[in-house]
C-alpha cells in the first residue's frame, strides 16, 4: 500500500508540473498556480484554470477508469491479453454514441451519450464473448468485432457529414483537447461508482482466476461475476469513449505494470492499476500538448511511447510468470 500512496503523491506533483507547461507560456506561473483565481477574465488565468486544469484532471480520472476497466477485463476473462479495445467494447461504445447522436437522441459529450455508449459497449462485449469458444478465440473474435464496428462508425460519420459528430481520427485515436469542466464533471460522476464497484468485485475476481468449475464448486455463479464485470467496464469504457474518443493500450498495460508492483490480488490491483493509469495518461497527455506546441500530438501515440517500454520493463523484471 505504501507504493500506492507514494505514486499518488507523484501524480499530484506531476499534475502541478503539467499545469505549468503548455503551448502558451504564462508569466510567474507558479505564483498563479498557488493562488488560483478561477473567475478571473485574465488570459493567463483562463489558460491555467479553464483550459489546462480540466484537461489535467480529466486525464487523471480517465486514466483511473481505463486502467480499472483493464483490470476487470483481464480478471473476468482470465486472459492477460484482454483489453476492452480487443474485446469489441471500445468500438461498440463508439458505435453507440454515433447512433445516439445521428438519430438525434442525445447530444455528444452528455450523460445520455454515455448511456448510448454503455449499451453499445456491453452488447458488443457480450457478442464477442458469446461467439468465442476459448481464450485465444476471444481475442481474435474481439479484434474482428472491433474492426467491423469501427468500419461502420467510420462510414456512418463520413456519409452523415454532420458537424456535431466528431472526426474519424477522434474515434480512432482519441484526444483530450476538448475536455471542459462540465465534461470532467460527467466523467467524475461515473468514475466513483466504477472504482467502488470494481473494488467490491475484487475478491470474486481472485476466485474466478481458479477457473469456472472452482467458482461453481464454491457456491458462486462464474457467469454472474463475469456479467457484473462486463457491465462495470462497459460503463467505464463508454464514459472514456464518449468524452475523449478511443484511447487504447492503457487498459492493457496498466494492470500488468500494477501486478509487478503489488502482486495479483485484485483488492490491491484495482487501486494500484488506477494510479498507474492516471500517471501514464497524465504524462502522455502533457507530453502530447507540450512536445511540439501549438500542435496536439495524438494521445494514443504517446501512451504507446511511454506505456509500452514501461510494460516491457515490468514484465522482464517480473520474470516469465504472470504476476
Amino acid at each position: 500500500m505504501r507504493k500506492i500512496y507514494a505514486l499518488t503523491l507523484v501524480v499530484v506533483a506531476l499534475a502541478l508540473v503539467a499545469l505549468s507547461v503548455g503551448a502558451t507560456s504564462v508569466d510567474s506561473v507558479w505564483a498563479q498556480i498557488f493562488t488560483p483565481n478561477f473567475q478571473s477574465s485574465d488570459v493567463s488565468d483562463q489558460i491555467l484554470w479553464q483550459i489546462r486544469a480540466p484537461r489535467i484532471l480529466g486525464a487523471i480520472i480517465l486514466g483511473i477508469i481505463l486502467a480499472v476497466a483493464g483490470v476487470l477485463a483481464q480478471g473476468s476473462t482470465n486472459n492477460p491479453l484482454a483489453d476492452p479495445a480487443f474485446l469489441g467494447t471500445t468500438a461498440g461504445a463508439a458505435l453507440g454514441v454515433v447512433i445516439g447522436v445521428l438519430t438525434n437522441a442525445v447530444n455528444i459529450a452528455s450523460l445520455g451519450a454515455i448511456g448510448w455508449a454503455a449499451c453499445g459497449a456491453l452488447l458488443s462485449t457480450l457478442l464477442t464473448f458469446w461467439l468465442a469458444r476459448n481464450a485465444l478465440q476471444l481475442i481474435i473474435i474481439g479484434i474482428a468485432v472491433s474492426a467491423t464496428l469501427t468500419a461502420i462508425v467510420g462510414i456512418a460519420i463520413t456519409v452523415a457529414d454532420r458537424s456535431d459528430v466528431r472526426s474519424v481520427t477522434f474515434w480512432s485515436f482519441g484526444s483530450l483537447s476538448l475536455l471542459t469542466w462540465s465534461s470532467v464533471a460527467v466523467i467524475a460522476v461515473v468514475a466513483l461508482p466504477v472504482l467502488v464497484s470494481a473494488r467490491i468485485l475484487a475478491p470474486q475476481l481472485d476466485l474466478l482466476s481458479l477457473g469456472d468449475a472452482a467458482v461453481r464448486h464454491s457456491g458462486r455463479d462464474p457467469q454472474r461475476i463475469r456479467l457484473i464485470a462486463f457491465l462495470i467496464f462497459s460503463i467505464a469504457i463508454a464514459t472514456a469513449v464518449s468524452q475523449v474518443g478511443t484511447i487504447s493500450f492503457l487498459a492493457l498495460a496498466a494492470p500488468h505494470i500494477a501486478r509487478f508492483l503489488v502482486g495479483p490480488s485484485h483488492r490491491h490491483l484495482v487501486a494500484a492499476a488506477a494510479i498507474i493509469g492516471a500517471l501514464i495518461l497524465l504524462v502522455a497527455d502533457t507530453a502530447a500538448r507540450s512536445i511540439a506546441p501549438p500542435q496536439d500530438l495524438p494521445i494514443g501515440l504517446l501512451i504507446s511511447l511511454i506505456g509500452a517500454p514501461v510494460l516491457i520493463l515490468a514484465l522482464k523484471r517480473g520474470g516469465v510468470q504472470w504476476r
Binding site: Q204, S209, L210, A214, V215, H217, S218, G219, D221, R323
Partner: protein, 204 residues
C-alpha cells in the same frame, strides 16, 4: 439411509452415452472408489454428483434432496470438489489460493489443514512454482477447509509419490472415521483399493 442416491442416471457427451441407466447408493461415512478405463465416464460421474453435468435421464439426490433443486450455494455446503486439473494463471501464494472464497468461520481451519497435508513449508510460495503433486494437495487443502459432509476427489493420488499416497490414504481413513463421506475417482487396480468401502466399475 444412503447419503447420495443415483436413480437410473444416463448422461451423454455429444452422441455418445457415457453413463447409462446407472443406479447406486453411497452411504454416509464411507469411502467409495470409481474405477475404470480411460474415457469410461469416471470423471463424468463424479462431475454429475458435483452438479457439473446435466442428466439426460434419472436423478441424483443428496441427503434426500434432488440435486436439481439445490442452488450452487446449497450444494457447496453439502460437498467439496477437487478436480483432476488445477488451473492457475496468476502468481497467488498457496495461502491466498486456499483462503479464496472461503466462509469466514472456516478460515481458522487453514493452519491445521495445511499441516495435515504437509504443505506448511510452501504456503507463502507462488502456486506457479509448484509441481503437479503439490498443486493437487493445495486443491485438496481448499476442499478440506470447507468442512462439508461429502468430499468428491477426481484422481487425488495421480501425481503423488509413494509417501504422499500413503499419507493421503490414511487421511481419507481418518476423515471417514469422523463421519465424512468420500467419493474418489481412481486409476488403480481393484486389488489396491482395500482402503475403500465400495468400488464402482461398470458405468454403462
Amino acid at each position: 439411509m444412503a447419503l447420495i442416491f443415483l436413480n437410473n442416471v444416463t448422461i451423454s457427451r455429444g452422441n455418445y452415452r457415457v453413463i447409462e441407466n446407472l443406479s447406486l447408493e453411497i452411504k454416509e461415512g464411507t469411502i467409495t472408489a470409481i474405477v475404470g478405463a480411460n474415457g469410461s465416464g469416471k470423471s463424468t460421474l463424479i462431475g454429475a454428483i458435483a452438479g457439473d453435468h446435466p442428466l439426460d435421464e434419472g436423478s441424483i439426490s443428496i441427503n434426500g434432496l434432488n440435486l436439481k433443486d439445490l442452488s450452487l450455494g446449497e450444494q457447496s455446503r453439502l460437498r467439496s470438489v477437487v478436480s483432476q486439473e488445477q488451473f492457475f494463471w496468476l502468481a497467488f501464494t498457496v495461502r491466498q489460493v486456499i483462503e479464496m472464497g472461503q466462509l469466514y468461520e472456516n478460515l481458522s481451519r487453514v493452519e491445521s489443514v495445511v499441516s495435515q497435508l504437509g504443505i506448511a513449508a510452501i504456503v507463502d510460495q507462488s502456486v506457479l512454482t509448484l509441481s503437479g503433486g503439490q498443486l493437487q494437495r493445495v486443491a485438496i487443502a481448499r476442499a478440506l477447509v470447507c468442512d462439508t459432509p461429502i468430499y468428491l476427489f477426481d484422481e487425488p493420488l495421480a501425481s503423488q509419490d509413494k509417501k504422499s499416497r500413503a499419507d493421503l490414504i490414511s487421511l481419507f481413513g481418518t476423515m471417514r472415521d469422523q463421519g465424512k463421506t468420500i467419493v474418489v475417482v481412481m486409476h488403480s487396480e481393484v486389488s489396491d483399493l482395500d482402503w475403500c468401502d465400495q468400488i464402482i466399475q461398470d458405468l454403462t
